[in-house]
């Protein structure tokens, strides 16, 4: 008799979702789905609010990377207040960049150390009670401390630039509401070990080496697990450099050919569509010129390193060259290499923070610029989990009349579903009995994308994910939750 496996909730991801895997009578996988079951709402209830409230209100849809939403909204409003995407004062733009790179640093550290390291250190098949950050802290104390302190450092950067570690108010339309004082700067530059930028760069390199060591010992697993060809999309700086804060939209196919040629994201609706499916609250974005079937793409660290031409910081560039050489300069389509890419980005974020902290523009007093107001603006930023779109329209009275968000994880909806299918085919299909480790393997694939399911559905709520097993007649046979 056929079965339906349900993983509910999927654990060690941000947000609440479940996976269903349908098996036939011989336990062959016939269908897999990652269901996102949270409720959406932000796009609707921001309507009717004053436009300058958006960066502070909309960021509330996430507690992990609210800075991304804060800045994407602020960038859209820069356009509306006539500053334009590139018209900020040096202090305004660099303070925002510091805020954003601090956030990338803390979010990537959280993901690698708190969420992923248990799988790498104890193995995918380790007992569930072993596969968690508490056990990491017990057995690898130094590593756990590094993870906690790296996250703390990034959070402190956010506090110094946005006013609070979570849900600050720093970015306002046309600029920023504070600069960085000398005391605040010195806290990061001359801070007592380990809370200083030099130590953060050193630890970022250590984390990268940890992954590379794991890769060396588990090459087949890392290179083949949930590996599949896809398109990749991100913003890149106009000269092709990796840039998390601002740039043009670029997409490449699995062979590296450009399929979206460095276009202005103000016109994103000309290039990107969103498909709705009746079994998920999360939409399915696609490139319009390729259609719903073939237009899906990946975003996030792997996509960013596949689309950019170089990384504008020396240590990360060196790592980038090694990363690119591994696939002979072609796009890397291996899901587990997402961790590798993420850690290169972590190092890059640390290097950029160091350079910004030593830039005297951060002590400038010219914080805001404004020009002729218009009624519509789009802000795009590279959030830790990928490309994030914020689009607003305002009415003649300055109230928001339309809001559209395409959140990073939403862009990765189809790739995550594909990753689940790949792992299910490779590890579950045809097996006589379903072991817990097999189901965790499905979660490992999802986890590689560092999904934020709350953000993706713009939800109000609950966190964890789950996996369930159904027979051919939709009878629930087994349910695994955390």
């Amino acid at each position: 008799m056929g079965q339906k496996l349900t993983i509910e909730p999927v654990t060690r991801v941000e947000g609440h979702g479940k996976v269903t895997i349908h098996l036939d009578d011989d336990n062959n996988v016939v269908q897999t789905r990652l269901h996102i079951v949270e409720f959406r709402g932000f796009e609707r209830f921001i309507q009717g609010r004053p436009y300058w409230e958006a960066p502070v209100l909309v960021q509330r849809l996430c507690g992990i990377c609210p800075v991304s939403h804060h800045l994407a909204a602020a960038k859209a409003l820069d356009v509306i207040v006539g500053t334009g995407s590139e018209g900020l004062t040096p202090t305004g733009e660099k303070m925002r960049r510091l805020m954003h790179y601090g956030q990338m640093f803390q979010s990537h550290a959280l993901h690698f150390f708190h969420l992923v390291s248990p799988d790498l250190l104890f193995g995918i098949n380790a007992r569930p009670e072993k596969r968690n950050v508490i056990e990491v802290a017990k057995e690898f104390k130094e590593l756990a401390v590094q993870g906690v302190m790296m996250r703390k450092f990034g959070q402190e950067i956010i506090r110094a630039t946005a006013g609070k570690k979570i849900h600050g108010t720093g970015a306002i339309p046309g600029g920023i509401n504070k600069n960085l004082s000398i005391e605040e700067r010195d806290f990061f530059v001359k801070g007592k070990d380990p809370l200083n930028i030099d130590k953060m760069i050193e630890w970022s390199q250590d984390a990268l080496n940890l992954f590379k060591g794991y890769h060396k010992e588990n090459r087949e697993l890392v290179d083949t697990f949930a590996a599949f060809p896809s398109h990749h999309l991100s913003i890149v700086r106009k000269d092709g450099a990796l840039d998390f804060y601002h740039g043009v939209l670029r997409a490449v196919d699995a062979k590296g050919d450009k399929i979206l040629h460095d276009v202005d994201y103000q016109n994103y609706l000309d290039y990107i569509g969103e498909e709705v499916k009746n079994w998920s609250y999360m939409k399915f974005p696609f490139l319009k010129n390729l259609g719903t079937k073939n237009g899906w793409y990946r975003v996030g660290p792997l996509a960013r390193l596949n689309t950019c031409d170089f990384i504008p910081s020396p240590l990360a560039q060196k790592e980038f060259e090694e990363f690119k050489a591994y696939t002979n300069g072609k796009p890397n389509n291996m899901s587990m290499h997402m961790h590798w890419a993420r850690l290169i980005e972590t190092l890059h974020a640390a290097e950029v923070m160091r350079d910004l902290l030593n830039d005297t523009d951060l002590q400038g007093r010219d914080l805001v610029t404004k020009g002729k107001k218009i009624s519509e603006g789009v802000g795009v930023i590279e959030a830790p989990r990928g490309t994030l779109f914020h689009h607003y329209r305002i009415d003649k009275n300055d109230l928001i009349s339309m809001c559209n968000l395409i959140v990073s994880t939403t862009n990765n909806n189809e790739p995550m579903n594909r990753a689940v299918r790949h792992v299910a085919d490779a590890m579950i299909s045809g097996q006589k009995s379903i072991k817990e480790g097999m189901l965790n393997a499905v979660e490992v694939a999802i986890r590689a994308y560092d999904p934020c399911l709350s953000c993706a559905t713009h939800a109000l709520g609950k966190m964890p994910l789950e996996i369930s097993l159904y027979d051919k007649n939709e009878n629930l046979l087994d349910l695994k939750t955390n």
């Binding site: 300058w52 409230e53 209100l57 946005a162 006013g163 849900h167 108010t169 509401n177 109230l399």
Partner: protein, 235 residues
């Protein structure tokens, strides 16, 4: 010459001027009595009741009651403090106050009082009143969700002939603040800012000013409301 009189506040012997309102006399003695609708220098109304004190055994509003010789005033007893907390809770449950996204957060007197009185879960049911945001005025936005009907704007913001620019409109539980479009036609940016700042909450907002004060530099970020008065006593 003002006549000095002696009164007792929570058992402490204080000096005040004859005819001075209790809330002001207390302040001169470095004792804080909370207020919301009161504006120093403008005729008080006793609308919000947050300044309630017990005078010679009877509850009175400290902003409208003058001190007199030998007056015995109770302000910090448990029941009065709880009454004040209840008023704060009523205001929060009657309106729709979403502090996390409000640009007055940190500068809001109602929020500051809620922190001072350690309001957690209100004892009253939220009313989820259906209110609107009015933004047709070129310089100001009225967010009726946040209005506590204190009348500060009506009493303080006048045109050059002394006429109120703001007024109550509608009736009963639907009453709300209106802006006189004719009188406010020539409102300057300074007047608009004054109107926004006279509002103890975020019900009147000057357009395109939101979140200009960084966290940490807002009025109540570092010390509870009333500390400016109480700190003088410590010195």
């Amino acid at each position: 010459m003002n006549q000095l009189i002696e009164f007792r506040l929570d058992g402490v012997v204080c000096m005040g001027q004859k005819g001075q309102y209790i809330v002001d006399a207390a302040s001169d003695n470095n004792i804080y009595i909370p207020t919301l609708c009161n504006i120093p220098g403008i005729k008080p109304r006793g609308a919000c009741r947050i300044c309630s004190v017990r005078v010679n055994g009877k509850l009175m509003t400290a902003c409208t009651t003058p001190v007199s010789e030998g007056m015995d005033i109770e302000s910090k007893s448990a029941d009065i403090e709880d009454l004040r907390k209840a008023i704060i809770e009523l205001l929060f449950t009657e309106g729709n106050h979403f502090c996390p996204a409000c640009e007055r957060s940190g500068n809001c007197e109602l929020q500051a009082l809620a922190y001072r009185y350690q309001m957690l879960v209100p004892r009253f049911k939220f009313q989820f009143s259906k209110r609107t945001v009015e933004a047709s005025h070129p310089k100001l936005i009225k967010d009726h969700d946040r209005c506590i009907l204190c009348k500060r704007c009506i009493r303080a913001i006048k045109d050059e002939k002394g006429r109120s620019i703001f007024a109550f409109g509608k009736r009963g539980h639907q009453v709300e603040i209106n802006i006189d479009t004719k009188l406010s036609k020539n409102m300057t940016d300074e007047q608009a800012l004054e109107a926004a700042e006279i509002c103890p909450v975020g019900a009147i907002l000057k357009k395109e000013q939101g979140f200009k004060d960084p966290i940490g530099q807002r009025k109540y970020d570092n010390e509870p409301i009333g500390s400016d008065i109480e700190n003088l006593a410590l010195q």
